[in-house]
């Protein structure tokens, strides 16, 4: 952990055109203060890798509305009509990836694996243009690893080592994305003193986290 920073300082670190992994599932477990700061800074041309684009006014939906996003790699945009409209208008490029494949591609990127061999998508549009590898008589799609310039995470508790815990369905993509961002910034609901989080409760070891957002005022 290199230090706790303000949301504005975090947004300044993220240049236009950067690739961002953003935790969350329909804006549950999404770093909202970080997103607000990116919108306030007027970020442009971002590539967002995330499960979904939430809905207008929430989570990643705010980045879509603000015109900050040029490209998304995601499993679902069905509940955000603005993403759909901007995709049809050619303003946002959308790569749709099955959810289980998306999370494994991110994990592979973060854990130094060469890709994912999955049966999901075989014989569908998702297969188009991808190598099919046969292993022990079964066929699998080879899906490539994903990394990003930044991973923006939402956590429940953090300490100043950078250790993170998550709560209930707010885990989702956060623990995996912590491995795959070149710079990892986490926003926690609370920050507790070092030593307070039991080792067995830590889901993301602090060594993966570069910056925490300072406490909300």
């Amino acid at each position: 952990m290199k230090g706790a920073i303000t949301p504005a300082a975090a947004a300044e670190m993220i240049p236009d055109g950067a690739s961002l992994m953003i935790g969350g599932f329909m804006a549950v477990g999404t770093p909202e203060r970080m997103i607000d700061a990116l919108v306030a800074r007027g970020a442009r041309g971002l590539t967002v890798i995330a499960n979904d684009t939430a809905m207008p006014g929430k989570g990643i939906g705010k980045l879509i509305t603000a015109g900050a996003v040029a490209r998304v790699i995601t499993s679902h945009i069905g509940l955000n009509p603005e993403t759909q409209a901007k995709m049809i208008a050619g303003e946002i490029e959308v790569e749709l990836v099955p959810q289980g494949t998306l999370v494994e591609r991110i994990r592979a990127g973060g854990m130094g694996l060469g890709g994912v061999l999955t049966p999901t998508g075989l014989g569908t549009e998702v297969e188009d243009g991808k190598p099919v590898i046969e292993v022990e008589g079964k066929r699998f799609l080879l899906e490539t690893p994903l990394k990003a310039d930044f991973a923006l995470l939402a956590a429940w508790q953090a300490d100043y080592v950078g250790n993170l815990c998550y709560m209930l369905t707010a885990h989702n993509f956060n623990p995996v994305m912590a491995l795959a961002g070149r710079t990892v910034i986490a926003e926690a609901s609370s920050i507790v003193p070092v030593g307070v989080i039991p080792p067995d409760a830590v889901k993301t070891p602090g060594v993966l986290v570069d910056h925490l957002l300072i406490r909300a005022s």
Partner: protein, 218 residues
Amino acid sequence: MMDAKDLIARRVAQEIKPGMLVNLGIGLPSLVAGFVPASLGVFFQAENGVIGLGARPTEGMEDPHLTDAGGGFVSAVPGAASIDSAMSFGLIRGGHLDMTVLGGLQVDEAGHLANWKVPGKMVPGMGGAMDLVTGAARVIVAMQHTARGASKIVPRCTLPLTARRRVDLIVTDLAVIEPTEAGLVLRERAPGVSVEAILVATEANLILPGDIPEMTLV
């Protein structure tokens, strides 16, 4: 007369056996949980991150960190477990999920499901559907038999497929249909619905066994 969606959900609920791990899609499939007795010891998975999904909490007691895959507030039953997306889809892809119930746009005579895209019109994305249909031990499609008068059960899907896997059962407001290697077998009629009415409403060819009973709804 019973609401069509409730009818479908009640019939699907009978497919659920004690101790199963079951994933219910958003929309119509999510109604199924309401017809499964707690005594069965069934665990419901929400693929966004919990095993042991419970009913919507009393107003004022919702928690923003506990939602289902549709973003609705839920509760957790005793013995629930939080899981991240990698574990959630590992359970699905690895064959640990006993059953999934999903909505459909089309199902065809090969038992192939299309439910994620209407090219040029609506592209919500596949979300978890492709993994669910590929990986679940048993796949049940729960949907209205027709949409705007057109049959959703067709000779061959014209919409992009969700997976190549043959689904295990189709439950509609008119019928229960089992996709088999030989084709779609009409297994049950909805209460008061004749075989003829089902054939008229179905574009796909249906195989008619000697006995096609009415659904029994417990």
